[in-house]
């Protein structure tokens, strides 16, 4: 029961921010400044998510060579710069990560 209450509550709070701007589409024109800001939205949001997922392990800042996520991310950035391909970056990065985890597991 509580599980479904959680699902329902999450459904509502997930849907509202996704829908709200669409509700105003017919009534209002985007100011030029906001139009200019649009191009920065994915860059800003995704970079922030990446940083919080790469530099932290179990909620602790982990700026060390033992953190395989950092090296994986650096290599992924390089692959992305060279190939500009989603597929190469994702697959190549994942292989690098699995190899690192296998040969240099994080010290317990």
């Amino acid at each position: 029961m509580t599980d479904w209450l959680l699902v329902f509550g999450m459904m509502v709070v997930t849907f509202i921010p996704r829908y709200l701007p669409f509700a105003f589409v017919d009534h209002f024109k985007l100011p030029p400044l906001l139009m200019q800001a649009l191009a920065y939205i994915p860059i800003a949001v995704l970079s922030a998510i990446v940083a919080q997922n790469v530099f932290f392990l179990d909620g602790q800042l982990a700026l060390s060579i033992d953190n395989n996520r950092i090296l994986t991310a650096v290599i992924a950035v390089i692959i992305a710069m060279l190939t500009r391909k989603l597929s190469w970056t994702v697959v190549g990065g994942f292989i690098v990560f699995l190899l690192l985890q296998n040969f240099f597991p994080a010290p317990a």
């Binding site: 959680l6 920065y40 860059i43």
Partner: protein, 239 residues
């Protein structure tokens, strides 16, 4: 229009593949953390928000009060409002009833795939919509199916949750961001987002994420304005 639907599916494939380990991990964690089978699957069907579902089941395991979990998810999802704002010019020509599913299916991945497509190929509104439907429906089916796979696998290999497979999502986001860094302003925006996200990591309920995004967007716009006419309009109109 079928071509554009299929192109949407195709353009999103690498992101769909990256979402698979993430979905499996969510499914496994949800059950291990004490959610019932149906509600864990129901969350993927009715909520459809990868990172939020992840955080939610982590909080379930920590026995956080349900209202706190919902509030946290709300704050995390505010970034999707930025995505929908950016779709506004294209949604004007979309029939009202179709705006509901478009909003429901708005994810980091489909937003990124269709935005990149729009920047590259300047499609008509209708082509844009079909591209998004292809991308979103493929993401959705994939997410639900692999949640189920994860719930099944997780009962056999509970150890799986400690392998760090969620790195796949990080790689997908890197793959989206890096090729879109075309000017100094873009690069600065990304750097500010990274540094700020690290500094504000401890803020309650993931509020640092939204704060960092907004600061980085402001910095990007300011730098673009200060850089003056030379750099303006280089990449055309956004979407």
């Amino acid at each position: 229009m079928k071509t554009f639907f299929l192109k949407g599916v195709f353009d999103t494939l690498p992101l769909i593949i990256a979402a698979i380990p993430f979905a499996i991990l969510y499914g496994a964690l949800a059950l291990l953390n004490g959610m019932s089978f149906l509600s864990a699957l129901g969350m993927s069907i009715f909520v459809f928000a990868g990172a939020s579902q992840f955080v939610a089941v982590t909080l379930v395991a920590a026995s956080a009060p349900i209202l706190i979990i919902i509030a946290t998810v709300f704050v995390m999802n505010l970034r999707h409002m930025l995505y929908s704002i950016s779709f506004m010019p294209k949604v004007k020509t979309l029939p009202k009833w179709q705006r509901l599913p478009m909003a429901f299916w708005m994810t980091d991945e489909s937003f990124a795939a269709t935005t990149q497509y729009a920047v590259k190929e300047s499609p008509t509104d209708k082509e844009f919509h079909y591209h998004f439907w292809g991308s979103a429906i493929a993401m959705y089916i994939n997410w639900v199916v692999f949640t189920y796979v994860g719930m099944t696998l997780g009962t056999y290999i509970p150890d799986m949750t400690s392998w760090g497979l969620d790195i796949a999502m990080v790689l997908a986001f890197i793959a989206i961001v890096v090729p879109s860094l075309k000017h100094k302003a873009h690069l600065l925006c990304a750097l500010v987002a990274v540094v700020s996200a690290v500094v504000t990591f401890d803020w309650p309920h993931k509020t640092g994420l939204l704060f960092s995004s907004i600061v980085a967007i402001i910095v990007g716009v300011l730098v673009e304005r200060l850089a003056g006419d030379t750099e303006e309009k280089v990449d055309g109109e956004p979407i």
